[in-house]
Structures are given as structure tokens and as C-alpha cells.
Symmetry: D2
Subunit: 116 residues, 4 copies
């Protein structure tokens, strides 16, 4: 994925609409969470099984909510100068320490509950 | 960003911990929204100005919450077979129709309020 | 539930800590959504069945996340002068129009999908 | 607020529409978080000042999103047997320990950052 190209497209989009004053990191985080809420709403009444076998209509709706989350995430990363790919690898490494295979295998407890 | 490489890494991570049974699309959407909530919490008491000038400590916390959102988004896309980059461009095109420059310039109303 | 008493308690709590400057409606809405995200996280890896039969430890955690949501909701209502009980009855009446029994029976589609 | 009366109304509402199978605690937590996301969306592009001086139209929208959050919270409490009022007072007491006046006065850091 060409993140820079997408971010430039989003910058143009915002510039053309004079939306920069609205796009503070705080507001972008809110917008991202709002979109995550809409993504959630697509799944809220589905069973686990239904969520694994979405209809075409459901998948399209889910896809665009995921895109909305991504777009705000890219925009926020751009505003904050965050390298998302590097952050992702760093976070995976941190998670590997918190959720060691020995402790986490077969359960999905939070790391602070793993020893209990 | 090499999405496939990151998704493979996440698949391995989940396989090693036997987490696949937990990673239904429904549950991944919940986890993503939970992380979006944590991202939100980093900004909730900051002023607009403070959110534009994060301290190093704040930026690090924000960066890892953004990474968490990204990781669940990538995992969900993998499970659903969604091409995130294509979805992003399609959504930008849809947004350009909903938020035409003429209507949206200088305001950030929702598209169904734009004519009011 | 004595809402006024709880709201007064929250006002005192905020006053004693000089938190009023932080408690704008915008920030309170963020805090509420952050707590909703924490509530979500308690359920994210549970099956439907497990969520209906929480352990004592899980129920305690869930209870306090619900309390957090309620406290921010009460605080926000206080700041905005919203009568929550009246708003609840008004919303139920609106929902009854949107989700008529004839259309909604046995399915949980959103109201704009009900005719499809 | 007569919580029992509201909960009975919600139970009837769900019974008439045969929605009980959808109303697992897990799904209700998702729905609550989705509504919190909609509440958030009402505030996302507003400045702190604007959020303190909502227009009538904005306040109405906010009021009904708050009502949606409350209704799912009441329904969840009913399903789980949680006494919301008691939980609220217990949580305030816990918060008073975590955020002592001496430490928290004039700042809104999270309790685990207060000593830093």
C-alpha cells in the first residue's frame, strides 16, 4: 500500500474543502473512533458464524467502514508524523513480550490477567 | 507499507497462540473499536492546541494505540479478503461525490446536513 | 435512581480537583466513548454464551465499566441541561415508529434496511 | 429516574419484536459502544467552545444519542442484574482513592501517570 500517495490524496481533499482547521489530531482521533463505532454496528446483531459468512451487501458496508477507519488513521499519522508501518512492527514486538506463547496459548486474556 | 507481510506476521502470531477461534470478524471489529477507544482516551483531556503539540511521551502512547488499530484492521481485512488500498480509493471517490467542494468548503457538516 | 444526587456528587468531585476546564461537552463525550470502549474490551473475546454467564470477576469488571459510562453520561447531561429520563422515553417512542412490530419482528436490521 | 419502569418498557419493546436472541450482553455492549460513537460524531468537528453552546438542532441530536446510550446501558444492566446506582456510587468511591485531591488537583492525567 502506497501510504504517502493516499495521504497526499487526503491532504488535497481536505485542502480543497478548507477542512484543515477541523483536522486537529484530537478531532481526527474522534472521527476515527466514530467510524470504528459504525464498523461495530455492522456486526452487532450478527452471530459469530454470520460474521464469518457476510452477505455481499454486508461485506460492502463493512469494507467501506474499514476504509473510513483507515483514511482517518492515515490522516492522523500524517498530521503527527507517525510512520505506521514501523509503529506496527514495534507494537508486534511489544505484544510478543507481553503475550508470550507459553502464557497466552489457547486463551485470550489480557496480559495482566495471564498469570492468574 | 507491505500489508501482506504484516498480515502474515499477525497470522503467525495468532497461530502460535492458538487465537484463531477468537479472531472472528465480529470479535476483531470489537477489538479494533476498543483500541480506537484507547486512542481517544489519549486525547480526551487535551485542548485542540495541545493535541497538535504532543509531548514525546504522549506521541509514543498515541503511536502505539494507532498501531493497535492498524493491526486489528489488517487482521480483519485478511479474514474478510478486503483489499484495503482499493477500498480506500473507492471510499475517497464516494466521499468526493457526497462532499462536493461547492457544498463542503469551509464547513464540516455531515453530507445530509449540507443543504440545510 | 436519584440522578440529581449523583450529578451533585460528580460536580463536587470535579470541583475539588479543579477539573471543570477539562469537562467540556466535547471532552465528556470522548471520555464516555472511551469507557464504552473499555466495556467492549471486557466482552471482545467472549462467545455469546460466555457473555450470558460471566464469572464473578468478569461481572465486577463489567459493572465498573458500565458505571464509568453512566457517570460520564450523567455529567454530560448535567452540563447540557438534558433530562435523561424524558429523553429516554422520547427515544423509545421514536424507535417504536422506526421499528414497527410488523416490520421488525424477529430481525434486527437497521430501520433503513427493513423494507428490503 | 425510575430505572425499573424504563427497563420493563425496553423488555416489552424487545419481546414484541422478538429481539431477545440478539440481546446478549456481548451484543448490547457493542450496540452501546456504537451509540457512543454516534454521540462522539456529533461533537467531532466542534471546537471546545462550540460544544459548550450547542444550537437547538445540535442539542436535540446529542440528546437522542445520549438516550440511545442510556437505553442500551439500562438493557445491559437488566440482563446482567447490575444495580447501576449502587455501581455508580462504588465507582465514585474507587475514583476518589485513585484520584486523590492532592494528586489530581488541576490536572487530568490518568491515575497511573499522577506521580510522574
Amino acid at each position: 500500500m502506497d501510504i504517502i500517495a493516499l495521504q497526499q490524496k487526503l491532504t488535497e481533499f481536505a485542502n480543497e474543502r478548507e477542512w484543515n482547521e477541523f483536522h486537529t489530531p484530537k478531532n481526527l482521533a474522534m472521527a476515527l473512533a466514530g467510524e470504528a463505532g459504525e464498523l461495530l454496528a455492522e456486526f452487532q446483531w450478527l452471530s459469530a458464524e454470520q460474521s464469518c459468512a457476510l452477505t455481499t451487501q454486508q461485506l460492502t458496508a463493512v469494507k467501506y467502514e474499514m476504509a473510513d477507519v483507515l483514511l482517518y488513521l492515515l490522516r492522523l499519522a500524517d498530521k503527527l508524523g507517525v510512520d505506521l508501518e514501523q509503529a506496527a512492527y514495534e507494537k508486534i514486538a511489544l505484544n510478543a513480550e507481553k503475550y508470550t506463547i507459553a502464557l497466552a496459548k489457547g486463551n485470550a486474556l489480557k496480559y495482566n490477567q495471564l498469570e492468574e
